[in-house]
Assembly symmetry: C2
Homo-oligomer: 402 residues x 2
């Protein structure tokens, strides 16, 4: 079935995508030739959903939780999640502050639909998750990037650049903390300076906290917990990472009731509700035996250390050891120079074809900014076992140093 010459709506010209899917396709094509692939490009996990979480879904299914449920989610899950996030964040949320979503991602478009008028300017991280840029522009906003600088122990938000991007039209800020692709988290000083700017310019904030619970030491601090910020912040929460439930598609928008009420109305319009019995699985995830979650973090930490150690042993590669997320964002400027490559795609393809190591690059995290001098790639280690990490990165090293 081919269409006639279509008159597609104009807004579609502004719709972006995740170009990382093209990397997956290239890796799959390479594997189909019988070649070994080390899949560091994947944002997915190769870890199993905890057994107790699966059993709770099955029980709910058998109990007949197969019909529609409330648009905002089942009350028990909203209450439990509100209590859980209240405890971890130090913010007094109740179930009225929670709208369950079919994944973490739906909160992004619903946040912009609720708070952004055409022409409004939105600050967003670049490099960052490319869907921010796409959804801002798709719904008529002006996407204004802010970037990161290499600090002493990890990346830091370039606060001077961010402040320079603010104009009288700036209305919204997207903050992804803990951060993809850098693996960094904001220091207290960064959070405070951001809060100052948010107050001064009367901004609302999307706090993408998809990786809030994926950390190996210490506790995460939410930007929403800073004085006066909770009433300006919508938190993107997801069950995907902590409980290895990426393919289950369940998350939530958490924020001020006036905004959440509108997001619930968007739920009515867009998808009615999220899967009913999956919400019982999430409830078990929050309230049941937490041993599997601990094991997931232990496994991820081993992988991080294996990957960081090997990356830093490669000539021309420099990599922080982030305490959070399952991403690494090494500076590969020296390694590319050594191979005589000045083009991201050429480097990525050479790496794939010479070693089987498949990665994303800075290009997959937003349109590059003027004046970028360093080159970065992103490795995800949630979908690849430690021995494979070691084997792949040993080949990476041999390729660069040959």
């Amino acid at each position: 079935m081919k269409g006639k010459t279509m008159k597609i709506a104009q807004r579609i010209a502004r719709l972006g995508t995740e170009t990382a899917f093209a990397v997956s396709a290239e890796a799959a094509a390479f594997a189909a030739e019988g070649r070994k692939v080390y899949p560091f490009h994947l944002g997915d996990m190769n870890l199993r959903t905890p057994a107790n979480v699966m059993e709770a879904a099955i029980k709910a299914m058998h109990d007949g939780k197969t019909g529609y449920c409330p648009n905002a989610g089942i009350p028990q899950l909203r209450e439990t999640l509100a209590a859980d996030v209240s405890a971890s964040h130090g913010i007094p949320y109740t179930m009225e502050n929670v709208a369950i979503q079919p994944g973490g991602k739906p909160t992004i478009s619903k946040f912009f639909l609720t708070l952004m008028n055409p022409g409004d300017e939105v600050l967003y991280p670049n490099p960052g998750y490319p869907i921010y840029e796409s959804q801002i522009e798709f719904h008529g906003g002006k996407a204004r990037p802010y970037s990161y600088i290499e600090g002493e122990r990890n990346f830091e938000i370039d606060l001077d650049m961010l402040a320079r991007q603010i104009t009288p039209r700036t209305r919204l800020l997207v903050l992804n903390d803990l951060q993809n692709p850098t693996g960094a988290e904001c220091r207290a000083a960064e959070l405070e300076k951001l809060a100052e700017l948010v107050r001064a310019h009367d901004l609302y904030v999307l706090c993408d906290e998809a990786y809030f619970d994926i950390r190996y030491e210490g506790r995460s601090t939410s930007f929403a917990a800073l004085p006066g910020m909770a009433e300006r912040c919508v938190i993107l929460y997801t069950f995907s990472k902590k409980f290895a439930m990426t393919g289950w598609r369940l998350g939530a928008a958490i924020g001020p009731r006036e905004i959440i009420d509108i997001i619930i109305k968007l739920n009515v319009n867009d998808e009615s509700c999220s899967n009913h019995f999956v919400q019982y699985a999430a409830l078990e995830g929050l309230t049941g035996d937490q041993r599997a979650t601990g094991q997931i973090l232990k496994t991820l930490r081993e992988r991080r250390d294996a990957a960081v150690d090997r990356l830093n042993s490669i000539e021309g590669v420099r990599c922080f050891r982030p305490n959070a997320t399952f991403y690494l964002y090494p500076n590969v400027t020296g390694a590319m120079q050594k191979k005589g490559l000045t083009d991201y795609d050429a480097f990525r393809r050479a790496l794939l074809h010479e070693t089987g190591v498949s990665v994303c690059t800075r290009l997959h995290f937003g349109r590059p900014l003027a004046g970028e001098k360093n080159f970065y790639i992103r490795l995800a280690y949630a979908g690849i076992d430690t021995p494979e990490i070691e084997a792949g990165l040993d080949k990476f090293k041999a390729f660069i140093e040959s």
Copy 2:
């Protein structure tokens, strides 16, 4: 958590909802007083998802189908659904024509986002599913209603009215066939006249076929199967009704590849993908033992007959016996006159409080049009057993005739 005085985006003022949820709330409040409720207002089903479908979901979960899957859905399901719809529709669809969605409803907003520019006029059924009107206006279109007339055997689209609503700005048509709330289906002559108008005015069509397989005799005809129409139609498909999977949230958009490619890009932006293991359940639904589906239809047919027989025995109530959907849309003008009521909500509340029978009215299916002379209510019989249908409608009869 209360918000400060919010600056909400202007488009939110144009966002509608399903006002039927307020009816559910009123019925629940009445039941909470210890009163018996007959829930004819529900669009949900009280029938179990077939066991083989549930088992397939559980197997897929245990097989590790818990990570992300392709944005467009798993290839096996897209292929199987394309073959199934090709056979039932007589249209040669392939997997490239299918984008899996988290429910039937997401196809509505994605159709408008893909094909409607601000200011475009859209023809939509009124009375009809209220989300059409809401999504058209929310995304900047002009909603132009067309209505139904009582024909000899069932409701028919008021084609004269529909034709009069067409202007040079008309770009899209929403056709819900088989129809909610009327239970009717288009006759061949209606479909042909519609196709003529679509060709003459170069329209694209959302074919909401949520009830395509819910019929008791004969075969459904898709508008998309008429000559030249497939290239202009996007079919809203859902697994919800046929397989009693309303709360599982799985459906599809089916249409010309150029449109489906864009809808897949919207999937990337909005929700990444639909639940992975649920897609294996849907696959079993399409390919496995069909006995449970036959039993679902047999049960619904019994309920229809029980409800239609009783409604027509009530003085001042006139009800068709539709061959399709699980809705009835009786004309209650005489019954309301008999009770001295000229207001929909007053009638609905009197009925609830005097008899426990909870229904939706014409008001829940779009803004009433000028000049409407008759009064209609909508009864859904998918969520209520036959003995309860009989008991409730006997009370309804006693109330009207007292």
